[in-house]
């Protein structure tokens, strides 16, 4: 790997806590290896800030391999930055040029209030999950044998693709309506596609959608930004499936 070093300017959103007023602050950072990830670049900036006895930038991150869904960041106006199929922690500085100015903001959505700087509160997603994102089986292990019900490979594969959602919230942040329908649609679809999930499919979709609305997420107007910015490539086909399930449920339950 031929690593290069670049100098950049950063405009980063700083906000002391959920109630304080925030603003973009300007930082310059030199000698950033193009092999560094975006978050390693932020580590480097924080190290610099700490050495200058300034307050480091708070941002969410954990696994740093694109699977935990903890990292977020709106970078140059795009969720997870200027590359596709990745999370911010998988974004590498080779995507930027020497002398670039990079804008870094938190997820922007009413349902994701800011905690500090670039960190937001995504617990609304957890509450939607708690409203119905499960199969109501106990945890005894005394269910039927795992191979008792064959599942067509195509269905299992589709369920898996929907289940690959990491719950990062890029879909909400990218949506002009702040809609969570890709997230909810993916969970509803995963279960709707599997025989184990079909049993309570109706209650599930009704409950999850109700909670989604209560959390203040917007509606879907088929813009498709969510699908484009989703780091896991979750298809908006899942929103259509959720709508079908919802309609079916609303009609039969009413």
């Amino acid at each position: 790997m031929a690593s290069k070093f670049i100098n950049i300017t950063l405009k980063i959103w700083r906000q002391k806590n959920s109630k304080a007023k925030g603003a973009l602050e300007t930082y310059t950072l030199n000698s950033v290896s193009t092999d560094s990830s975006f978050l390693e670049m932020l580590d480097q900036l924080n190290e610099q800030l700490i050495n200058e006895k300034q307050s480091p930038i708070a941002f969410d991150h954990d696994c740093r391999e694109g699977i935990c869904g903890m990292c977020s960041l709106y970078i140059n106006g795009r969720a997870h930055g200027p590359d596709s199929g990745i999370t911010t922690c998988q974004l590498h500085m080779r995507m930027f040029k020497d002398g670039d100015t990079i804008y870094v903001e938190p997820w922007r959505s009413r349902a994701f209030p800011i905690i500090k700087d670039l960190m937001v509160d995504r617990s609304a997603f957890d509450r939607i999950q708690q409203a119905g994102g499960f199969v109501s089986v106990n945890t005894s292990g005394r269910t039927m044998d795992a191979n008792a019900i064959p599942i067509p490979k195509a269905d299992a594969d589709k369920a898996f693709e929907a289940a690959a959602c990491i719950g990062c919230g890029a879909c909400v942040a990218s949506c002009k309506n702040g809609s969570a329908m890709l997230f909810v649609g993916a969970k509803v679809s995963q279960y709707a596609l599997l025989p184990q999930g079909k049993v309570e499919a109706t209650d599930r979709v009704l409950n999850m959608v109700r909670q989604m609305d209560e959390e203040g997420f917007g509606n879907c107007t088929n813009t498709g930004a969510c699908e484009i910015e989703c780091p896991k490539g979750i298809s908006i086909e899942n929103i259509a499936r959720m709508n079908r399930e919802f309609l079916k449920g609303a009609l039969t339950k009413a």
Binding site: M1, A2, S33, D35, E40, M41, D43, E47, I50, K53, Q54, S55, P56, D60, D62, C63, R64, E65, I67, C68, G69, D83, G85, Q90, H92, R94, I115, K116, M119, D121, S123, D126, Q129, Q130, A131, G132, F134, V135, S136, V137, T139, S140, G141, T143, M144, D145, A146, N147, I151, P152, K153, A156, D157, A159, F160, A163, I166, G167, L194, Q196
Partner: protein, 670 residues
């Protein structure tokens, strides 16, 4: 002298768990809501335990430092989960999974625990499928399997390269259901700061709300620690950035013994280190060794030319490649256990055959070219093309690879900017998993009454080396199927206790201690960042308590870490205050514990004068570089008692390991 009673039930190995279950005490359903249980950590072990205990009706409080229980690092496990289902009809059984795990652990695990694990493994798969976990399936609709290291059967269930994610989301869904029903109360963005003991029993924790900085008191009749492993003591590891030892270490400081800290798993297939600002290492799943062949150039000059960028791996002729695992271990080939594969890679790189152009020239190839061709040929046949062209085979083969390992290949490409479909992956061993942990008995209870420890945080099932796809199995087995019984057995004596007050002197004292530590760091006025010290600790650990260890290096490490600890307390600088979200404050508390642990790891490694599993002492190897165990002297679990922050003062306790059912032998994968 031994403080350790492993409480292994009597009787034949296959009956122990059943008999034990039959004789354990129960808590009636009407009593369960009066009893509080705390679960710290929401990975596979913690989430499954919290969900199951909530399901039973206990009043559960679950804690995680992340913003959601779904973020726990179990999510990053890639390759799969083992279970003795024998769906493939290739000779698997409970006994064989038990045997493979004991042998894989280099005869340093407890037989009874491992057998129980193998027994319940099948139920895990049943449970997960019932929860809607979308495992990979064959065209007939039944579950697919693959192989993992250290086994000769196909018993690994998987969901592409995201098995941990799918299993954790399954456990998270069960946990979410209980939260929704009000039986589990979830405290996210909360970190356990200390364990509170009253009359010798675990009675609660002090937690810090990471958003507000507030210290909180939570009481309970039992505390379950499921806080994961301590690989981050090396700074660079495949663990998540937040993974830490603190919950386990706090329990240790309160009196629980810490077992086998020197048993660390260095995973053979990770993306090599690229530079000094690197924050973590990324694993490439062991499942890739089903399809990839590991090699280095036979000639040192070829390796040099590759490092200098003058040669490409694809230009090295077949006869000039050294497929060193296939050469050294023909019976298992590329699927030898992790410790064996890692040491073999180090040996080749130490000899000058490494191919990565980084500071240390460390890296080997993982090559998919032969698999792409052979799978492409099969696919062409299946499509009726019995005489496919080379291009056609490669095209179909790449498709096959993409379906099996697509996310891993994408991940690799994003990190390295190289296309692994066209050129072999470059890999090198990295710290991945820690077999050591808090000592627990057969019931998963530590030496503190009422304090249970589960998953990677305990030491129990993997001996000196864990086999691939066994961590997911252990986490879920303990949480779903073991703790509900053993915790209940303990709680049966608590039905008359009543609510435990949090205004007792014990809670006061614990909270004050936490406050003092926080204030001390915030007012320290040092000059160096937390990461500065963490990185220095990591370097000592990697160089002297890493893949190969020797007496001299370990002695140096013990002294160097001691000095580092002193400097850390004098000179670490933590910005901000205690009453706000303050990630640097979180880090400093964790690194303080990692320093003590790191020293104890070196102490443990120094005392264990043998090579076993992941613990390789250079003084103890045969003429071919294989490990030499010393069963006469070291066939025991080494469990340490805390005697202050200088880990040289820790006291060793031994639990002898008795192999009643498996004949102990030299581990041979040749």
């Amino acid at each position: 002298m031994s403080k350790l009673n492993s409480r292994i039930p009597e009787g034949p190995i296959a009956d122990k768990w059943t008999n034990h279950k039959n004789h354990m005490k129960l808590v009636a359903p009407n009593n369960r809501p009066k009893i509080d249980v705390i679960v710290v950590g929401t990975g596979l072990a913690g989430a499954s335990a919290a969900a199951s205990l909530g399901e039973m009706g206990y009043n559960v409080k679950a804690f995680c430092f992340q913003d959601s229980p779904r973020r726990a690092h179990s999510i990053a496990a890639q390759g799969g989960i083992n279970a003795a289902k024998n769906y493939q009809n290739d000779g698997d059984s409970v006994y064989r999974l038990f045997y493979d795990t004991i042998k894989g652990g280099d005869y340093r695990a407890r037989e009874a625990n491992v057998h129980r694990l193998a027994e319940v493994s099948g139920n895990i798969i049943d449970q997960c499928v019932a929860q809607g976990v979308p495992f990979a399936r064959e065209y007939g609709g039944l579950l697919d399997n693959r192989s993992f290291g250290g086994t000769q059967v196909q018993r690994t269930f998987y969901a592409a390269g995201q098995t941990g994610q799918q299993l954790l989301l399954g456990a998270y869904s069960a946990l979410s259901r209980q939260i929704g029903l009000g039986r589990v109360k979830m405290y996210h963005r909360h970190e356990m700061m200390d364990l509170v003991k009253i009359d010798g029993k675990a009675r609660g924790i002090i937690a810090r709300n990471l958003v507000t900085g507030e210290l909180e008191r939570h009481s309970a009749h039992a505390v379950v620690i499921a806080s994961g492993g301590y690989g981050n003591v090396y700074f660079l590891s495949t663990n998540a950035m937040g993974s830490n030892v603190s919950a386990a270490w706090k329990v240790h400081k309160r009196g629980a013994l810490f077992a086998n800290p020197c048993y660390v798993q260095i995973h053979p297939t990770c993306v090599p280190v690229h530079g000094t600002n690197q924050s973590k290492l990324t694993l490439m799943s062991e499942s890739l060794r089903n399809s990839g062949r590991i090699w280095v150039p036979k000639k040192k000059e070829d390796a040099e030319a590759i490092r200098a960028g003058k040669l490409k791996p694809t230009q090295i002729a077949e006869e000039d490649r050294d497929y060193y695992l296939e050469r050294r271990y023909p019976a298992f080939g590329n699927l030898v256990p992790r410790d064996v594969a890692s040491r073999a890679a180090k040996e080749r790189c130490d000899e000058g055959h490494g191919i990565e152009a980084n500071d240390t020239n460390e890296g080997v190839y993982l090559d998919f070219a032969s698999e792409i061709k052979s799978k492409g040929k099969q696919a062409a046949y299946a499509l009726g093309d019995h005489n496919p062209t080379e291009e056609r085979m490669i095209e179909l083969g790449k498709k096959w690879i993409e379906e099996k390992y697509g996310n891993l290949f994408q991940m690799y490409q994003k990190i390295t900017d190289e296309n692994p479909y066209e050129t072999p992956m470059k890999i090198y061993p990295a710290v991945h998993y820690t077999m050591g942990g808090v000592w627990v008995d057969y019931n998963l209870q530590s030496t503190i009454e009422g304090c249970f420890v589960t998953g990677e945080a305990n030491f129990s099932d993997h001996g000196a080396n864990r086999l691939g796809a066994s961590a997911l199995m252990q986490g879920l087995a303990d949480g779903y199927f073991v703790l509900p019984y053993t915790v209940s057995d303990y709680l049966a004596n608590e039905i008359r206790t009543g609510k435990i007050a949090t205004d007792s002197p014990e809670f006061d004292a614990a909270e004050n201690e936490v406050k003092e530590t926080i204030d001390r760091f915030l007012n320290n006025n040092g000059s160096k960042s937390v990461d500065h010290f963490h990185k220095r600790l990591g370097l000592i650990m990697w160089n002297k308590v890493g893949m190969a260890r020797n007496e001299e290096g370990l002695k140096q490490a013990i002294e160097e870490i001691g000095l580092l600890r002193e400097e850390f307390y004098k000179d670490v600088y933590v910005p901000g205050s205690s009453d706000e979200m303050n990630p640097e404050l979180e880090k400093v508390m964790r690194v303080a514990d990692l320093i003590e642990l790191g020293q104890l790891m070196a102490v443990d490694a120094l005392h264990r004068e043998e090579s076993c599993g992941g613990h390789f002492r250079e003084e103890h190897q045969d003429s071919e570089g294989e490990t030499l165990r010393d069963d006469e002297k070291f066939k025991y679990v080494g469990a340490w008692e805390y005697n202050g922050s200088d880990s040289k003062q820790s006291t060793l306790h031994k639990e002898d390991l008795n192999y009643e059912f498996i004949k102990i032998a030299a581990r041979n994968y040749k």
